[in-house]
């Protein structure tokens, strides 16, 4: 058995009024990939912040042993010196600086305060080669995609002589291909003796690369599983995380599908900044009453762009094509008109595009349909409270009060607030863009149930997702997009991951 690289023993961390971690143990061996799993709020990030010194020694109890030595980190610098590097979910890159500048940020290649640019570039190039990123060190961060940015973060970690790499949901924003590359890279590192702690919600990738899995629930260690022994199954992990059997990840549903209620024909959209680039190319699709229609596609296939251009032309320029509702052609020039016509769009980025984080839950819920709550443009605040309370109950939003600010909610509950907002607007067509991104398993199930209810009420649902199992589990019919075109349309019965993948990677020959 390999020696242990890291041991965290009996870690307890309390915030005023909350015990975030209680007697947590974590052991990472030399040269292994260790997955840390648990629902949102289980304490994964807190544990990693304790480890990396964000919460300094003395603010928690328990011991941290790294390579057999007791560590008392006062800040991140100290943990990094020992080779513990954490890559946060929200990347800490500066988009107006080059790749090389970012890699050596805070660790500049300088002598007597003067930066040696030659050396910076040479070293950056070496590191980029190691992580398999073919970009010039002088390229600006703003010019490369999220997948590549993730690799830059890893290169930055390597520059610090990393021994233990901690990745907090590294693949949440990546498409399948980029995720794949990233995981392969971790396996590479493992061969070179760099261990990783991988925090992830994605069961399939964890069971693929991890050597052992530690599961946290409510701030406590539940168990550590070894993948070699074959005791690990996805069901087993889910059970550990939620504390109960989840025999079904997708709730049962008996679709009742009616006539076509919404249709888009020959839809073309051009890029808002680069006028000659066609982002959406001759797309036609339709949604029927009570139907859940999926859109599959890789990052950059144009799914979000399509959805937003339909939703009141909130994306793109020179939009052409026809739109029909209940068989009649409709013209929509802006978002208020789209809402008026019964279209709703739940964005993929709820923090930046979905919520007013500094405002309370009730005002977030009422925002899109204030007209319903007001007479002669005066809002009835009592009625508003009633509505918000109703949604809190119906959608099971976990919060002490609807006066709570949205920023204080967990991801799943924030998403429920966004959904409440759009359900309250009573749309006929709901476009859901990655509705379960960054949400834990338990809350996902609840969101799926809500989507089913909406379909059962006769609404048409357009579900955009990067997780193929989610599309397969939820949708009656799936459109596949690639390079701004629809490259396939698959009925539920015929849908398989392979089939979707084939259409997703179809390029213009």
């Amino acid at each position: 058995m390999a020696a242990s690289l890291l041991e965290m023993r009996g870690i307890t961390k309390t915030f005023p009024g909350v015990k975030a971690l209680e007697d947590v143990n974590l052991q990472v061996k030399e040269g292994e990939i260790h997955a840390l799993m648990g629902e949102n709020g289980a304490g994964k990030s807190t544990l990693m912040k304790v480890l990396s010194g964000v919460y300094p020694y003395g603010t928690y109890t328990g011991d941290i042993l790294f390579q057999g030595k007791v560590c008392e980190f006062r800040d991140i610098k100290q943990s990094e010196q020992l080779g513990i590097v954490i890559i946060h979910q929200e990347l800490a890159l500066i988009s107006e600086l080059s790749i090389a500048e970012n890699i050596f940020l805070g660790n500049e290649q300088a002598s007597r305060g003067i930066v040696d640019w030659q050396q910076t570039r040479v070293k950056a190039r070496e590191l980029l080669q190691k992580v398999g990123l073919q970009e010039s060190p002088d390229t600006l961060i703003s010019q490369i995609g999220v997948g590549k940015q993730q690799l830059v973060e890893i290169a930055k970690a390597l520059s610090k002589k990393v021994k233990l790499l901690i990745l907090d949901e590294p693949t949440a924003a990546l498409n399948e291909e980029d995720s794949d590359n990233l995981l392969k890279l971790l396996l590479e590192f493992k061969k070179e003796g760099i261990s990783s702690i991988l925090i992830s919600h994605k069961l399939n990738e964890v069971s693929r690369v991890a050597d052992s899995i530690t599961i946290l629930r409510d701030g406590k260690t539940i168990e550590t599983l070894e993948t070699k022994t074959g005791e690990v199954t996805e069901e087993r992990i889910i059970k550990g995380m939620v504390g109960r059997d989840m025999t079904q990840r997708y709730p049962q549903r008996f679709p009742v599908i009616g006539e076509t209620i919404f249709e888009v024909k020959d839809w073309n959209v051009y890029h808002p900044v680069i006028p000659e680039r066609k982002v959406i190319d001759e797309v036609s699709l339709h949604i029927r009453r009570g139907e859940i229609v999926g859109i599959a596609g890789l990052m950059g296939a144009g799914r979000t762009e399509l959805a937003m251009s339909i939703f009141g032309r909130s994306y793109g320029k020179r939009i052409s094509g026809q739109m029909f509702k209940h068989g009649k052609e409709i013209r929509i020039t802006d978002i208020p008109e789209a809402i008026e016509q019964g279209i709703a769009y739940v964005t993929e980025d709820r923090k930046h595009y979905g919520l007013n984080l500094m405002d309370d839950i009730k005002r977030n819920i009422s925002l899109a349909a204030l007209g319903k709550l007001s007479k002669r443009s005066v809002v009835n605040e009592n009625e508003e409270i009633k509505v918000a309370e109703e949604f809190r109950r119906k959608l099971n939003i976990k919060t002490p009060s609807i006066l709570q600010k949205a920023v204080n909610l967990s991801g799943g509950n924030q998403q429920k607030v966004v959904l409440s907002k759009w359900i309250f607007a009573e749309p006929d067509v709901l476009i859901l863009d990655e509705p379960t991104r960054g949400i834990d398993v338990g809350a996902k199930y609840e969101i799926y149930t809500i989507i089913h209810q909406l379909a059962a009420e006769g609404k048409g649902i357009l579900l955009i997702s990067s997780e193929l199992p989610e599309l397969l589990g939820m949708c009656d019919r799936i459109y596949v997009m690639s390079e701004g075109r629809i490259t396939g349309e698959v009925e539920r019965a015929e849908a398989t991951q392979e089939r979707l993948m084939k259409d997703m990677t179809k390029t213009r020959g």
Binding site: I335, H352, G354, D359, L367, L370, N382, I385
Partner: protein, 387 residues
């Protein structure tokens, strides 16, 4: 007791501001040997600060949308100058002149709103340009000279008092009556609000606390009108201010428009994707600021009884400070009209009190700067503690 504690915690910012104001007033009341709260001085306080308070209302809306307006002082001066030309040189009737002046304010606001909302130039730059542009225009139209005097009917805006219908001698009876009427309205609205909340089966304040609160509010209102009545009664400008405060509080708190402005300031993209016409709203907020700047310019010109090229210098800074002392957030989305008014009064009382005790303008500036910094620091400290 528990509910009161909870309410205290929930409203600590509002109460905190009021307490700060009261403490500052008490401090100067002691330092000036009781001069501060003399009827004459109270009246002066209102007259001296009216135009800053008018500007602060407009500025609050601008700050809530996440913008800033540095041009209000120059715009006020410019409109004051135009009004002087109209009334003094061209003999236009004051009512017509006021309407034209307000329209010019609206046009100025539309000009700046266009660049901010539709061309997306940062408001700091647009209004910095406006500050220079309209100061320059003021000097051009005035040809570097002051214009005076204004017709008397116009001066009454800032120096007149509501006449006493009952002809009381010594005590201004109408003012007392207005105080009593206001108290009645206050009690009635508070009571009906409580009844509606009851009918929705929401928690209401405990009865004892509610009654104590009402008695306190009624006492303050009547004490205030009584003090005014022992001097000349209610200044005209106070009626105007009161109407503006009530109107804007109502719009910001109760109407769809107000909600949209808060949402836009809190997260512009999310607001836009929720169906708020964000550009249009931003534009109108600036138009509104232009009109209120014009109004402030008129009030100031009427008070000074002259239009001068140097009018309105640093008004923008006082108005901005009032909003921030009153709890508005520099990043937008947070702030109340009442808060901005209290912030304005904190500055006003300090100006007045420090002048009364004979502190030089140099010390006044420095102390005001520190108070602004401390007020916002206290606010941020509280916010961090809450979250």
């Amino acid at each position: 007791m528990e509910t009161i504690q909870k309410m205290w915690k929930g409203n600590i910012r509002q109460y905190g501001m009021i307490i700060t104001l009261v403490l500052i007033m008490l401090l100067f009341q002691v330092l000036t040997d009781g001069l501060l709260l003399k009827p004459l001085n109270i009246t002066n306080l209102i007259l001296q600060n009216s135009y800053i308070l008018v500007l602060a209302i407009g500025m609050l809306l601008v700050i809530i949308t996440g913008h800033i307006d540095l041009s209000v002082g120059s715009v006020a001066a410019f409109v004051g100058a135009i009004s002087a030309i109209l009334m003094v040189k061209m003999q236009v009737h004051p009512v017509v002149a006021v309407i034209i002046s307000l329209l010019i304010g609206a046009l100025v606001g539309a000009w700046q709103g266009f660049w901010v909302a539709y061309v997306k130039i940062p408001s700091f730059i647009v209004t910095l340009a406006g500050m220079l542009l309209f100061r320059g225009l003021t000097m051009i139209v005035l040809d570097g000279q002051s214009i005076a005097p204004f017709p008397e009917s116009f001066q009454l805006i800032s120096s007149g008092f509501v006449p006493d219908l009952f002809g009381g001698s010594g005590l201004h009876l109408l003012t007392i009556v207005i105080g009593v009427l206001l108290s009645a309205i206050l009690v009635w609205t508070e009571w009906s609000r409580r009844q509606t909340q009851r009918s929705y089966q929401f928690d209401v304040e405990p009865t004892g606390f509610f009654i104590a609160k009402l008695i306190g509010m009624v006492a303050v209102v009547n004490l205030f009108t009584f003090v005014l009545a022992t001097y000349e009664g209610i200044p005209n400008i106070l009626i105007l201010l009161f109407a503006l405060i009530v109107l804007y509080s109502f719009v910001m708190k109760k109407t769809v428009m107000g909600r949209h402005i808060y949402a836009l300031g809190g997260n512009e993209k999310a607001a836009s994707l929720s169906g708020v016409r964000t550009k249009q709203k931003t534009f109108w907020v600036f138009v509104n600021m232009g009109v209120l700047s014009a109004l402030a310019g008129l009030i100031f010109a009427a008070r000074l009884n002259a239009a001068t090229p140097k009018a309105g210098v640093n008004f923008e800074l006082d108005a901005i400070a009032a909003c921030f002392i009153g709890g508005a957030s520099a990043t937008g989305g947070i702030g109340t009209v009442i808060g901005a008014m209290i912030g304005g009064l904190v500055m006003g009382v300090m100006n007045n009190g420090m002048s009364l005790i004979g502190l030089g303008i140099d010390w006044q500036q420095g102390i005001k700067g520190l108070v602004l910094l401390l007020a916002v620091a206290f606010d941020i400290y509280n916010k961090n503690k809450a979250s």
